[in-house]
């Protein structure tokens, strides 16, 4: 026994392969990371996805366009409104129909509320990944308020099948606008609290600044999008650059990472861009609520969606980034092919590039700062 212990062939001296996930507290779902570690240092990391594959695209090939919307809900379950909106504007592009003003405004309001809710989860979960538990519960508490608003809106708290191709399922409930504004007034100080507790905390800065830097060109080459790309200083936001809905009418600015605490494009920047985006979304909602026109929301709603033969690629700025739907129609009411370009899919693909040479704790932090949703990656 003893001589065996001394035998080098018995003692493992090489790298250790660590299987993080699919069941792990902080892989944000059922992601599996195959990590080659040398002590605490990560030398190679290999994401293995697909544990949540639900055949979304196969479903789409067998369902009419109206019935696909509930399934798009399930893709990014933290920003369902965005998924509905993205799919709907793509189908409307295919049909090319004009929507009534009120529908666009309602869509913008709910989409920005959803953006706040999703960013709250992202920010809180990032805090949870670096070990701060209290901010997570606070952000969840505020998210609940938004979900309450959505419940008055469409009855559902998580998977609203509210935005439909050609409109929304029904009009705003009474007092919805007032409640939204009341929530925004309540919400602004909460962001300051969050900044005091987490953002400016020395330990948090130590953990997140200078960690997992994404250089701008590499990020673009990897197809990273959304807050993760803006965190590395690229001023690219579809709502500004390619205004798809009525976003051209609103005045808001696109926060980008400046590297206050470290280098541009580190975890702290990605985190802080999300915090600032919540303020911007609140700004947009206030403007939209102020200008909300009256009218009917069911004008443009087609009875049966039956687009002409052709294909279309629609983009949308979701909370995770640049959602794309590539729809091929063969003239029937069932699409021939629906391909979803999921932002988190591309954002995750950069993980192995940026997280090598860091420690295991940093891999967790980087993963949290990328804000992935496995339901959207695996589809």
């Amino acid at each position: 026994m003893e001589d065996q212990l001394l035998d080098k062939s018995v003692i493992e001296t090489g790298e250790m392969i660590l299987n993080m996930g699919p069941q792990h507290p902080s892989t944000h779902g059922v992601l599996r990371l195959k990590i080659h570690t040398d002590g605490e240092i990560v030398s190679k990391i290999e994401p293995i996805i697909g544990y949540l594959h639900r055949c979304f695209e196969k479903h789409c090939e067998q369902l009419p366009y109206e019935q696909i919307v509930p399934f798009t809900d399930r893709c990014d379950y933290l920003a369902s409104m965005h998924m509905d909106h993205a799919f709907s504007i793509t189908v409307e592009k295919l049909l090319d129909i004009e929507l009534p003003e009120r529908v666009e405004y309602i869509r913008v309001i709910v989409a920005e509320l959803q953006r706040i809710a999703s960013h709250l989860i992202a920010v809180g979960a990032f805090g949870l990944d670096v070990g701060a538990i209290t901010p997570f519960t606070w952000t969840l508490r505020d998210r609940e308020r938004i979900l309450d608003l959505f419940e008055t809106l469409c009855g559902a708290r998580l998977l609203y099948n509210y935005i439909w191709p050609g409109g929304v399922s029904h009009d705003l409930p009474p007092l919805f606008v007032e409640r939204t504004l009341k929530f925004l007034d309540y919400f602004d100080p909460q962001i300051d609290e969050l900044n005091d507790l987490l953002t400016t905390n020395k330990i948090f800065i130590e953990r997140s600044a200078d960690v997992g830097v994404i250089p701008a060109d590499i990020g673009i080459n990897f197809g990273v999008s959304g807050p993760s790309l803006r965190g590395s200083g690229v001023n690219f936001d579809l709502r500004k650059n390619e205004p798809y809905s009525i976003y051209g009418k609103f005045d808001f600015d696109v926060p980008i990472g400046k590297g206050e605490m470290g280098t541009v494009g580190d975890c702290w920047d990605r985190y802080y861009v999300r915090v600032l985006e919540m303020r911007e979304s609140a700004k947009i909602i206030r403007q939209a609520c102020a200008q909300l026109p009256a009218g009917d929301v069911h004008v443009a709603m087609p009875k049966k969606i039956r687009p002409d033969i052709g294909e279309v690629y629609g983009r949308y700025e979701s909370a995770r980034g640049d959602v794309g739907f590539y729809i091929i129609s063969n003239g029937k009411n069932i699409p021939l092919r629906v391909k979803m370009r999921s932002p988190a899919f591309c954002n995750l693909s950069i993980l192995s590039e940026i997280s090598e040479g860091w420690m295991i704790s940093d891999v967790i932090a980087i993963l949290g700062s990328l804000d992935i949703v496995l339901g959207e990656i695996d589809r």
Binding site: I49, G50, H53, C55, E57, K58, E61, D217, I218, I220, N221, F222, G223, V234, F236, N241, E242, G310, E311, Y313, R315, D322, G324, Y326, I328, N330, L336, R337, K339, R341, F345, C346, S349, I350, E353, D378, R379
Partner: protein, 161 residues
């Protein structure tokens, strides 16, 4: 730049012919000259399509022709381009994973779902499905098997239907 300008520009740059279809804003290229055109797309100072948004593979329905659609975007010049390659089953397409790194996983997904082979890809294996899966699910001819490695797949709902 508009689509027609982009198309003219590409044609002026390269000898290898590219075709378009009526009413489709897409450039059809053949697998042989795809790498060359890809180099032009990313390197040319007037195009610089540095952002590969999506690679969509599709089945044309006739059990023979399969297609891939590349959607490009230029963050500097803010114009779009859709490049499409339609091939017979089995013909490989040169991989562009080393030009646009985002193509890596997208090509793996295309291989996983439709079974299009990208030659020159660093590791072309299934990404969403398990490695021992048989068949390519998004092909129109794909049938749900009765057994998955000996595990029966319960399909009918006769417990309540």
């Amino acid at each position: 730049m508009t689509f027609s300008k982009i198309q003219k520009h590409i044609e002026s740059k390269t000898q290898s012919k590219i075709s378009i279809e009526e009413g489709k804003e897409a450039v059809f290229v053949s697998p042989n000259n795809w790498i060359e055109i890809a180099q032009i797309l990313i390197n040319d100072s007037d195009l610089e399509f540095n952002y590969l948004m999506c690679i969509s593979s599709y089945d044309k329905g006739d059990n023979k022709m399969y297609g891939v659609a590349y959607n490009f975007y230029s963050t500097n010049r803010q114009h779009y381009l859709e490049v499409r390659i339609e091939i017979e089953d089995g013909t490989p397409i040169p991989s562009i994973a080393n030009i646009w790194r985002s193509a890596d996983w997208h090509e793996r997904e295309a291989y996983d779902m439709i079974g299009i082979v990208f030659e020159g890809h660093p590791n072309l294996k299934r990404i969403l499905l398990s490695d021992d899966w048989e068949g390519y699910p998004l092909r129109k001819i794909f049938k749900e098997p009765d057994y998955y490695h000996g595990i029966p797949v319960p399909k009918d709902k006769s417990y309540w239907d």
